[in-house]
Amino acid sequence: MKRRDFITNTTAASTLIGLGGLSLGSCSNLGQKQITILHTNDVHSHIDTFPASHSKFPNLGGVARRATLVEEIRNKNPNTLLFDAGDIFQGTPYFNFYGGELEFKLMSKLKYDASTIGNHDFDNGINGLLAQMPNATFEMVNSNYDFSNTVMDGYVKPYKTYLVNGVKIGVYGLGIELDGLVTKKLYKETQYLNPYEIALDMEKQLKEEELCDLIVCLSHLGYDYQNPQRPCDTRLAQQTFHTDLIIGGHTHTFLDKPDVRTNQNGNSVLVNQVGCYGINLGRIDFYFDSDKNISAEGVSIEV
């Protein structure tokens, strides 16, 4: 009986090899998947393009241009997700006059998939944030603010998963300590929890329970601080085990290229941030193969 199994398997295997040219070729095409992650941070209500006379960002930015760019990219690769890393609010009269209504409506029109919450998103108080939630078709993700004693309870998810072309993507959010940065009157009973500890919980859950193929963190902690006591993206990257990409915000950091750090497993983590005010759009492409076609060389990173 055992010998018979062996023979059957051998026959199947050799037939498989015989078909290799066709079947592996076609299957590897089917198995190769490209996921495009687009991102912004700290747009701060900058809806219009900066005027040509602007000293720092002449004729740059603008949500109507970003819409065109995002649409072009989505047309080429429908397997695209669009995220924001917080501080959507505050910075132009659009926010002062309309309280974030226009920002959320436009992000919904651009089909943002998720955003995390920045400190300035509390600028009209936690009630002001709640008031704009009906205008958001995208998900608000944050895992280290406990909103359970606030009006935002139930409106923010610790993480969100997406199944895109057979690739499962998990996205969790982290926010900066509010005390000292935002008036208590505005954030009220929002409790800040240690972002490093929560990040490890989140990525473990996304990896082991949700079985995600790709794990993204939307962080409003800030890129890097000299003071080791202040949590930041570069240190977060080095403490994690499963996070593939940290999309950062808060420090308005213009990076020449995405930063590559090494995590606890010895794997690479990308840390990216694209300045502020909608001047740039970040784009990270992840290419996946089915297990059969994996080369032994690991992940190649080109930034």
């Binding site: 199947a12 079947s23 603008g62 949500v63 109507a64 930034v303």
Partner: protein, 255 residues
């Protein structure tokens, strides 16, 4: 025999599809990252632009209507220890807060202290609109009145006198020697009296910032006005024809 081969072929193709293509496990092999500048090479999407237009028109109507006139530019660096723009801000806060504070508490406001960094813009010579108020005060900061003991008031005055930045004040005169040690202090025209409490109007940013910001260490009580600093500025612009603030002797350093 022929049937068998076909059967085997089908089985194998199915097998192949199953293991390679229907497999749940995919593995990351390659990552490419870049940043795309949103510049003039990208066209504006018409549907987005036309959605924004009515909001922009409404905002511009309100922001650009002339409220007052500045015969001279109001600057943040035109005096040694105080500035025309800082003085304008502090005087506005004083004038607009006095009646609110009186109504809410029955008490009289003594003086105003703001932070230099909180005044975000100068005002150029010419017509002054609400847009100027948004440039000067883009943040949603409220006016609050704090009650300080005599000794806490002395600490605050010392902090302002010693600071390298020209923090705006109103209702108080501070004279220092060349080392910025206090020579004399008058509040509402009266010599500073350390045995009494003082009411100081300021920004909620400085109040909630606490000792780490440097201004207020020990606060006896806080009265909220629910009045945005920016709205106080706009209301003041509507009341006056011309902005006359100048550098004066409210803080001076003797040589």
């Amino acid at each position: 025999m022929r049937n068998l081969i076909i059967k085997q072929f089908v089985t194998c193709v199915t097998f192949c599809v199953f293991i390679s293509c229907k497999s749940d496990t995919v593995q990351l092999t390659e990552v490419k990252g870049k940043q795309i500048p949103i510049d003039s090479t990208i066209s504006h999407m018409d549907s987005i632009s036309s959605f924004v237009t009515p909001y922009r028109i409404r905002i511009n109507e309100i922001l650009d209507s002339t409220l007052a006139y500045a015969p001279k530019p109001l600057l943040l660096n035109d005096g040694k220890r105080n500035t025309s723009m800082g003085n304008l801000m502090a005087d506005i806060v004083f004038k607009e807060t006095v009646p609110i504070f009186k109504t809410r508490t029955g008490n009289d406001l003594d003086f105003v202290v703001l932070n230099y960094g909180g005044v975000r813009s100068i005002i150029s010579e010419g017509n002054v609109s609400a847009r100027n108020a948004y440039e000067v005060m883009p943040f949603e900061n409220y006016i609050e009145v704090v009650e300080l003991s005599g000794s806490a008031t002395r600490q605050l005055i010392n902090f302002v006198a010693k600071a390298s930045r020209r923090h705006p004040v109103s209702g108080i005169q501070i004279i220092t020697d060349k080392n910025r040690s206090l020579e004399s202090v008058n509040i509402q025209g009266q010599p500073f009296d350390e045995s009494r409490n003082y009411y100081v109007a300021t920004s909620d940013y400085l109040v909630s910032g606490g000792p780490s910001v440097g201004f207020f260490n020990e606060i006896i009580s806080i009265t909220e006005t629910d009045y945005l600093l920016r709205n106080a500025i706009i209301d003041h612009f509507k009341k006056v024809d011309t902005l006359k603030a100048v550098v004066d002797d409210r803080i001076i350093q003797l040589d």
